[in-house]
Every structure is written in structure tokens, then in C-alpha cells.
């Protein structure tokens, strides 16, 4: 006996009952397919919604919060920045190149559908150790796919991050963030445009094939297991050339004032775009599937409705503007098809071959999906190794620094970003070799600043603190350039939410994100949830990835992270405590992931951020670099590696030397200050109540820290630069 159809499609029995109640009858095949994709975890957020609602979403800069295709913030002078992050992890685990490529395509269309020109991409990625051939294949494929797509559409990839942990061997995570620019009064939202009854829904872009049919339920909402072969044919192939044409045509359609609405086609394809567009318009639609351009002639209605073929958009067009829309699209070589007409009421009536194949309330698909308050249980605390700060360490500290710098998570990611076009569009003031990317706003002096950060190891030890640190670190990365952090987007990477432990991790992470975003006044404008990152018996660490956006009033003020010259004073800002829990040192040197992550005091963090922004505004800093993974030792080493200027410092502390060097205490930064600015800088630090210790000076070819560290900078640079190429088996 086979399972009932709804269960095969991933719908639970109570969900099926809910559909029957909504329709007042049994759903037919096409309808069942529509509900199954729209009510999947991926599209409906049924497990996460109840928690996401608790996040702070409002603030003076927020123009568009969660709920639209992407969030938007105001950066003054009528300019808006649109940004959002999304995962494409499950497809990437099967076909890394195409999975990552289509991930870029998807998030870029979210930005376009807001009426914004995509100006930057960031790619937070997580893999298993590169010592495994399969992980290398995934890593190389994902990087090539992101570059292959991003480079071809002319959007610079300017940042990201890469973390490594065993659980990602079977569950690589691919998140992509896109940033776009628009005029605030030209943003396309459900508020800004008013569709009319009788207006057309025009599908434009690529033809529809059998791509990712049921992909949302099969690929994104069920745990990957061995023999995931059945889901294989649904891998999608990206066509970046078609996407580039979509970008140009869409922005022109908006500029010419030809649209009453615009939406990208992503998960759940036409079905999702139709139901969401109609719901937002407060209307229904008469839909004709016979006019949808198909790549394969014999597609069934449910296939046409749920296909996830890439590079398509859906516009709402008043009949009087149709000819102009068609002409504009034709100029860019894009096909158009009027697939629906908006009607009063809220019903989607879908016809195929002259017959009604589905008749459902649009809202029931888009908005009225199930919502779960899933059970949660705090896992028994894993007291594996205790506090690593208490582990005696007798080793050589020079060796320890070399080991930590060679940890793949710390080592240079040049091998990766060298494959990305970071300069197209001509506005990249700072790219991946900076703590945060700086993109200038054309025609102005403003710089949009973006950073992405996730803290998997901290999350494993304490998901609440892990999420807080992700927010704080991304804010710090933005602030060290001199920019004021404004708002975040996120991508929440977790295991199976049907397991109470995972749900607890999720709720704790949301609580941490909520507290940190409130404390740092950086509201959440949107994001994406990626559950079911769990196969091969292991779930990933709870990893909320934060995409922070900031504003630099004058991009020319931007401060680099590395020491620009010799003869500068080096200051350590913030306080250092004995905090090695979840640190890079504890993992790489002691082989321990245990204890508690560092504490985080949001008022201290905020004071540091404010000081950095003020000091850069007063041009008091020559360089600024946040102290993050690997502690002050790694921060200082990175400052020196960037330009080759060494340093000699002495860190005043009562802590054992290895703890002082590698503690990952939060809310710290290493800055360099020219002697004439020192007095003013110290006064400013005092005014912001940020502890500020002058620890030494830049200069010379060596990195010297007290009696503990003395290594030529060139040697540090070699270790840092060659780790990843070596792991990939390249001659270096």
C-alpha cells in the first residue's frame, strides 16, 4: 500500500484536513501540489514564524521591514539600500556549482523585484574540513558557481566568510546576500504601487521547464539522506546571461513607470508568485496556463505551476501599458506572456487546455498556511572539556600563533575571492580584504558598508550568545571602517525543527538576535530560514548568519584594517578576560570546543561602535581592525600581514600569556594612531568610556608581543596565505 498522495507530497494529515476545510471539498492533484509547495517549511515558515515575530523590525532608518521581497533602509538624500540574504544549501550539496550559482540568481531577483539595482554580493559559506576530497569538491564547486554567476551578471562579490566544521561535510551551507540601490520613492512594494482590477500578470524571462519540480518540498524541506538520487533530476541549471537581461529590462520597466507590481519567481515558481501578488493586491486572478512558454511541450498543470525554472519574473501591468512592456522586453531579447488577469474577490482560477484545473483562495496559499509552536527542549549541557582557559598550556606561543593563523577558518580567503569580480560597476572602495566591504553610492560621497558573520562554534556552546555575537561582530566589522551600523538581514541555518533540541536552539538564537539587535539599535529587515541541515546523522551547529548594513557619510574617510605605515601608536580598545570557550585557540591548539562563549555586554559594545565611528569621523585613526576569532594575537598579525609593517607591543595583563593573546573577549579592536592624534584620540576614548591601552608601535619587519611572540611578518603572511591553497593540493 502506498502512502496517501498528500503525505507523499510532504503534507501532514492535519494540513490536509485544513485544505479540505478551506476549499469545502477534497483538493485535486494540482491544488494539492500547490498547497504542498506553498505550505512547505521553505515557503510558509510554519515552524519559525512564531519566533521570528519577536524580532525588532523598526527603527528610524527602516523603510521596508520583513514581509516584502527584501528589506530597505534610508541612507539620506532620497537614497535607499535594499538588502537580503538567502540560503541555497540543499541544492549545493547535490550539485555545488549549479546550486550556488542559482542561489546567487535567486537573491539577486529579490533585490530587482524591489526596484533596486544590485550593487554587491556577499557569500557566507560553511564546509566540512578540506582534508576530505568530497569537501574539496563541494568547496571548489560552490566558489566557482558563485563566481560563475555573479561575475557574469556584473554584480561585484565583495565579502563573505567561510567556516569549517565536521557537521558541514554532509551539510554544506551556502548563504548569499545581495545589496541593491534605489531611490526611496521608486521602491516597488505592496504599498508603493496600486494594481487595478483587469490588469495583467505578465510572466517574462526564461521558459518554464521541469526544473526543481517539488524542489521546495523535496530539496529544501526534507533531510538529505543517502540515495537522495530521486531528487536529482530536479537540479536547476542557472543561466546568468538571461539574469543579466532580466536585471536591465526590469529596472527599465520600473524607471519608465510601466508596472503596477513586480515579483521574482523563486521557490514554488508561478504558484507562489501568482498567489502572493494577488494577495498583496487584495484580489484574485484568472490564470491561463496554456500561454506559459514551456521548454518541454507535455508538461502537466501542476508541473507548470510549481516548476522552479530560474530567471523569470512576474509583473503586474495595466492593459494600457502592455504594448510598451512587450516592446521593452523584446528589445532585451526576453519573452513575455500574459498569464493572468486580476479580478475582484480573492480566488485564483487556473485554466489549462480549456478546463479549470484549480480554484483556490489566493490568500490561503500565501498567507494562511499552518503555523506551529513546535516543542522545545534544552539539551543536557555537554560538559565535555570544561573551560579551556583552565587547561594548562605549556607550549611555545610562537607555534601556537602559527597554528591558529593556519586554521582554515582564520587563514586568508584570497584563493576564494580572487575568483570573484570585485570591481565591476566601479564603486568598490573596499572589498574582501577589509573587515567590511565599502561600496560608494554613485554620484555621492556616501559609502554603503556591509559585512556578514556567523558564529557556529559559539552557537554550539550557547545558541543565545552565539546569535548575539554574530550581530555584535558584524556591527564591529562595519564600525571599524568608520560606518554606523544601521540594520541587519539574516540567514538562519539549523537542523531539523521537528526535533525539540533544534527548535530550542532556534528559539534561543532568535532571543539572542533580538536582544543584540535591540541593544545595538540595528533592527531586522528580513532574512531567510534554512532548516533540515541535518543528514548523515549529524546536525550543523545552530548558525544564524547576520548580514549587517552600515553607512559611511564620506567614503573617503574609510579606515583600512592593516597598519598603513611604521611609526604609529598601536592601541587595544576594550577589556580582555579569560575567555577561551569556543575559541579558535581552544579548537586548533587544545583540540577543545567546550566551555562558554565569551560574555557580551551590549552597552560596552555600543560604546566601542560609537567611539570607532566618532574617531574615524574626526580622522583620528590610521587603521582599525576588530578583535574576533583568534583574539588580539591574530588581530595584530592580520594588521601586519596586510601591508608588511611589523610591530612591537606589550599587553598589560594579569592573565596567563596564552589566555591574554588568544582570548576572544568581545567588544575589542586594534587601532593605529598617528602620534599627533594620540592625545585627541585618548580623550575621545575616555569620553565614550572605552578602555584604551597604548600597547606599542608599528614598524620593522617583525611581529613582537612581549616576550611571547617574535616572528617575521613575512613568515606570518606566508602561513596565512598558503593554508587554503595547500589544503587544495596546489603548489604554493
Amino acid at each position: 500500500m502506498s502512502e496517501p498522495l498528500h503525505r507523499q507530497l510532504g503534507l501532514k494529515d492535519d494540513e490536509q484536513e485544513r485544505i479540505v476545510a478551506t476549499l469545502g471539498r477534497e483538493p485535486n492533484r494540482a491544488e494539492l501540489a500547490m498547497y504542498s509547495v506553498m505550505w512547505s517549511e521553505h515557503c510558509s515558515y510554519k515552524s519559525s514564524k512564531i519566533h521570528l515575530k519577536t524580532l525588532p523590525t523598526e527603527g528610524p532608518a527602516v523603510l521596508v521591514g520583513p514581509g516584502e521581497d527584501a528589506g530597505a533602509v534610508d541612507i539620506g538624500d532620497g537614497d535607499a539600500v535594499v538588502f537580503k540574504m538567502e540560503s541555497h544549501s540543499h541544492p549545493s550539496a547535490i550539485e555545488p556549482y549549479q546550486g550556488a550559482a542559482t542561489g546567487v540568481g535567486g537573491i539577486v531577483r529579490d533585490i530587482i523585484s524591489m526596484g533596486a539595482r544590485p550593487v554587491a554580493l556577499l557569500d557566507p559559506l560553511m564546509f566540512g574540513p578540506l582534508t576530505e576530497p568530497r569537501n574539496r569538491w563541494l568547496f571548489e564547486g560552490v566558489v566557482a558557481g558563485i563566481g560563475g554567476y555573479g561575475n557574469c551578471i556584473g554584480v561585484p562579490t565583495v565579502g563573505g566568510e567561510i567556516r569549517f566544521a565536521e557537521a558541514h561535510s554532509s551539510n554544506p551551507c551556502v548563504n548569499v546576500m545581495c545589496v541593491g540601490l534605489a531611490k526611496a520613492d521608486e521602491l516597488v512594494t505592496s504599498q508603493s504601487l496600486t494594481p487595478h482590477v483587469g490588469s495583467f500578470m505578465v510572466l517574462y524571462g526564461a521558459a518554464t521547464g521541469r526544473d526543481g519540480i517539488g524542489g521546495v518540498s523535496v530539496l529544501a524541506s526534507a533531510t538529505l539522506e543517502e540515495g537522495a538520487d530521486e531528487s536529482r533530476p530536479s537540479v536547476q541549471i542557472g543561466d546568468p546571461f538571461a539574469e543579466k537581461l532580466l536585471i536591465e529590462a526590469s529596472l527599465e520597466l520600473i524607471r519608465e513607470g510601466l508596472l503596477e507590481g513586480l515579483q521574482d519567481l523563486g521557490g514554488a515558481g508561478i504558484c507562489c508568485a501568482l498567489s502572493e501578488s494577488a494577495t498583496r493586491a487584495g484580489m484574485g486572478a484568472e490564470v491561463d496556463l496554456d500561454v506559459v512558454p514551456l521548454r518541454e511541450a507535455d508538461m502537466e498543470p501542476f508541473e507548470i505551476l510549481t516548476s522552479e525554472s530560474q530567471e523569470r519574473m512576474l509583473a503586474i501591468v495595466h492593459p494600457s501599458k502592455l504594448a510598451a512592456v512587450e516592446a521593452l522586453c523584446a528589445r532585451w531579447g526576453l519573452h513575455t506572456a500574459v498569464i493572468a488577469t486580476l479580478v475582484e474577490g480573492g480566488t485564483l482560477t487556473i485554466r489549462h487546455a480549456g478546463e479549470v484545473v484549480a480554484e483556490v483562495p489566493a490568500r490561503s496559499l500565501a498567507d494562511d498556511g499552518p503555523e506551529y509552536d513546535r516543542p522545545m527542549t534544552a539539551p543536557a549541557r555537554i560538559e565535555d572539556g570544561g573551560d579551556p582557559a583552565l587547561t594548562p598550556f605549556e607550549g611555545d606561543l610562537n607555534d601556537a600563533l602559527r597554528t591558529v593563523l593556519a586554521a582554515p577558518g582564520i587563514a586568508s580567503k584570497r584563493w576564494v575571492w580572487r575568483q570573484y569580480d570585485r570591481i565591476v560597476q566601479g564603486n568598490t572602495v573596499a572589498g574582501p580584504d577589509s573587515d567590511a566591504a565599502v561600496i560608494r553610492v554613485p554620484g555621492t560621497l556616501k559609502g554603503v558598508v556591509a559585512s556578514s558573520d556567523g558564529k557556529g562554534r559559539y552557537g554550539r556552546l550557547d545558541p543565545y550568545l552565539g546569535a548575539m555575537h554574530a550581530v555584535a561582530e558584524s556591527a564591529r566589522n562595519v564600525a571599524v571602517t568608520g560606518a554606523e551600523p544601521l540594520a541587519i538581514t539574516n540567514c538562519l541555518n539549523f537542523g531539523n525543527p521537528e526535533r525539540p533540541e533544534v527548535m530550542w536552539q532556534f528559539a534561543e538564537s532568535i532571543r539572542g538576535m533580538r536582544d543584540a539587535c535591540s541593544g545595538l539599535a540595528t533592527p531586522v529587515t528580513g532574512g531567510n530560514v534554512s532548516f533540515y541541515n541535518e543528514s548523515g546523522g549529524s546536525a550543523i551547529d545552530p548558525t544564524p548568519v547576520v548580514g549587517m548594513l552600515g553607512l559611511l557619510r564620506d567614503y573617503r574617510l574609510r579606515v583600512p584594517s592593516a597598519f598603513p605605515q611604521a611609526g604609529l601608536a598601536v592601541y587595544l580598545l576594550g577589556e580582555t578576560a579569560a575567555e577561551l570557550g569556543g575559541s579558535e585557540f581552544a579548537e586548533a591548539v587544545l583540540g577543545q570546543v567546550s566551555g562558554m562563549p565569551p560574555a557580551l555586554d551590549l552597552s560596552k559594545e555600543r560604546a566601542l561602535l560609537d567611539l570607532l565611528v566618532a574617531a574615524v569621523g574626526d580622522t583620528l585613526l590610521a587603521s582599525a581592525h576588530d578583535c574576533g576569532d583568534g583574539g588580539v594575537a591574530v588581530a595584530l598579525a592580520e594588521c601586519a600581514i596586510g601591508t608588511g609593517h611589523g610591530f612591537a607591543v606589550s599587553i598589560p595583563t594579569d592573565l596567563p600569556p596564552h589566555v591574554a593573546l588568544f582570548s576572544e573577549s568581545a567588544s575589542r579592536a586594534v587601532v593605529s594612531v598617528s602620534p599627533i592624534d594620540e592625545e585627541a584620540f585618548r580623550a575621545l576614548a575616555a569620553a565614550y568610556r572605552v578602555p584604551c591601552a597604548r600597547i606599542g608601535e608599528t614598524g620593522g619587519p617583525r611581529a613582537v608581543i612581549d616576550a611571547a611572540i617574535d616572528i617575521p611578518v613575512a613568515r606570518l603572511a606566508e602561513i596565512w596565505e598558503t593554508t587554503i591553497p595547500r589544503l587544495l593540493g596546489e603548489a604554493v
Partner: protein, 237 residues
């Protein structure tokens, strides 16, 4: 009267650095004119730039489909009249595919896309973009391409070298040649070539991304300065 040159920049479907080239032309004091691949009209420009990007996705071969665009017929006769034509990256690939420049560009030896600043050694001043430079001099300009390895059959290579058609080679800052400075494995480190007359030049690196010190190096400035001179000379001739 006509002291700012009119420089056309062609947009093909999939061109990416067309806007960037227009900005660079404006920043250097020229007048940029947007040209459309499907037109048959060069709009009276004095020089033409074929910009970088991925015309037609670089599908089949980079530049292959764009080289057959309607506007290319106009550009061919424009070039035959001796007017200055500069192909950058994808534009270089298009000029090779169109037979206006020798050789061809294939996948980088590493098989990977590469984006980084490189040094170029100028090999000749007998072109529309190097007139102001001295052979042996080096300039810093970024590259960003996946298919920038210049190759030719041995007979063609001999002709190119023999006739002095190499315009730029990848090099160290001091002009020294070596594999370490060659980002794509190009034969004889060739980064750019010219036609016999020197009015058509193509190079893989991006001079239009090397005019504004706020966002990159400045090695592209002299190339545009020379291109403007050549354009004005042609306009008055």
C-alpha cells in the same frame, strides 16, 4: 570647437563594464556615447570602445556571438578607415573573433576566473592607446576574466611577434617577465595586441577600472589620454 572627443561604447546583451567605460571616459574629460549592438549607426563617434563583460553569456566561445552583431559591420569599416578602436577584455575577445585582431583567447591555464591588479609592460608606442607611453614602461591595471589566455598557432605567433603587434605583456613592476606575473598563462605573456596599422588594440586588463584612485590603480589614464588624442586627430583629419 571640437576639443572633447566623442567616444562610443558599445552595449551588447551581457556587456557589463559598458557603464564603467562611459564613466572612465567622462572622468578623463571625453564625451561618452552609448552605442547599441543591434543598430547600424555609430552616431558620429571619433573612437569606439568595446567594453568588458560576458556578451551572450560568453556561451559557445567568449565574444563569438557578439562578433557577428549588426553594429560590428560598421565597426569593421570604421576600423578599416583607420579610426581608433579599443577592445577591453570581452571587447578584445570580440575583436579577435571578428578577425580584426590576431590570435584567440581561451580558458585561463588555472581554469579559474582571476580578478587582481597586474602590471603591464608597454611594448610599443605605435598604437592609438600607447602613443604617450615609452616601450619598457610599466602600468598597473586590474584583470578580471576566466578566459584570458591569449593563444595563436605557431605561424601566427611568429607573425605577431615579428611584426611587433604585441602591445602589452604581463610583467613585474620593474618590467621583468615571468610566469609568476602572468595571471592566465598567456603565450609569451601577451596581454594585448594591435592590428598592423595600430588603430585597433585589444587587451584583457581593464584600463577603465584604473582611472579613479579612490577605487583602484591609475594605470589606465594614459591609455584614455592617447585614445582621445587619436580620436581628435581622426576627427579633424
Amino acid at each position: 570647437m571640437n576639443d572633447t572627443p566623442r567616444v562610443g561604447v558599445v552595449t551588447f546583451p551581457g556587456s557589463l563594464d559598458d557603464r564603467d567605460a562611459l564613466h572612465a571616459i567622462a572622468a578623463m574629460g571625453g564625451t561618452g556615447v552609448a552605442l547599441w549592438h543591434a543598430d547600424h549607426d555609430l552616431r558620429g563617434v571619433d573612437a569606439v570602445v568595446l567594453p568588458g563583460g560576458f556578451s551572450y553569456g560568453d556561451y559557445l566561445r567568449c565574444g563569438a556571438i557578439a562578433a557577428r552583431a549588426p553594429l560590428m559591420a560598421e565597426i569593421r569599416s570604421f576600423a578599416e578607415r583607420g579610426a581608433p578602436v579599443l577592445g577591453i577584455c570581452n571587447g578584445f575577445q570580440i575583436l579577435c573573433e571578428a578577425g580584426l585582431l590576431p590570435g584567440a583567447l581561451i580558458r585561463n591555464a588555472s581554469l579559474r576566473f582571476v580578478c587582481e591588479d597586474v602590471w603591464l609592460r608597454v611594448e610599443t608606442s605605435q598604437t592609438c592607446v600607447t602613443a604617450g607611453l615609452t616601450p619598457g614602461e610599466t602600468i598597473e591595471v586590474p584583470v578580471k576574466h576566466g578566459e584570458g589566455q591569449w593563444v595563436a598557432t605557431s605561424e601566427e605567433l611568429e607573425r605577431v611577434e615579428g611584426d611587433g603587434l604585441v602591445v602589452f605583456r604581463y610583467a613585474a613592476e620593474d618590467g621583468q617577465l615571468g610566469d609568476a606575473f602572468n595571471p592566465n598563462g598567456a603565450t609569451n605573456h601577451i596581454a594585448g595586441v594591435r592590428n598592423a596599422a595600430g588603430n585597433v588594440v585589444g587587451l584583457m586588463p581593464h584600463p577603465e577600472h584604473a582611472v579613479d584612485p579612490d577605487v583602484g590603480p591609475t594605470g589606465g589614464q594614459p591609455l584614455f589620454a592617447a585614445l582621445f588624442e587619436a580620436a581628435l586627430a581622426g576627427a579633424t583629419a
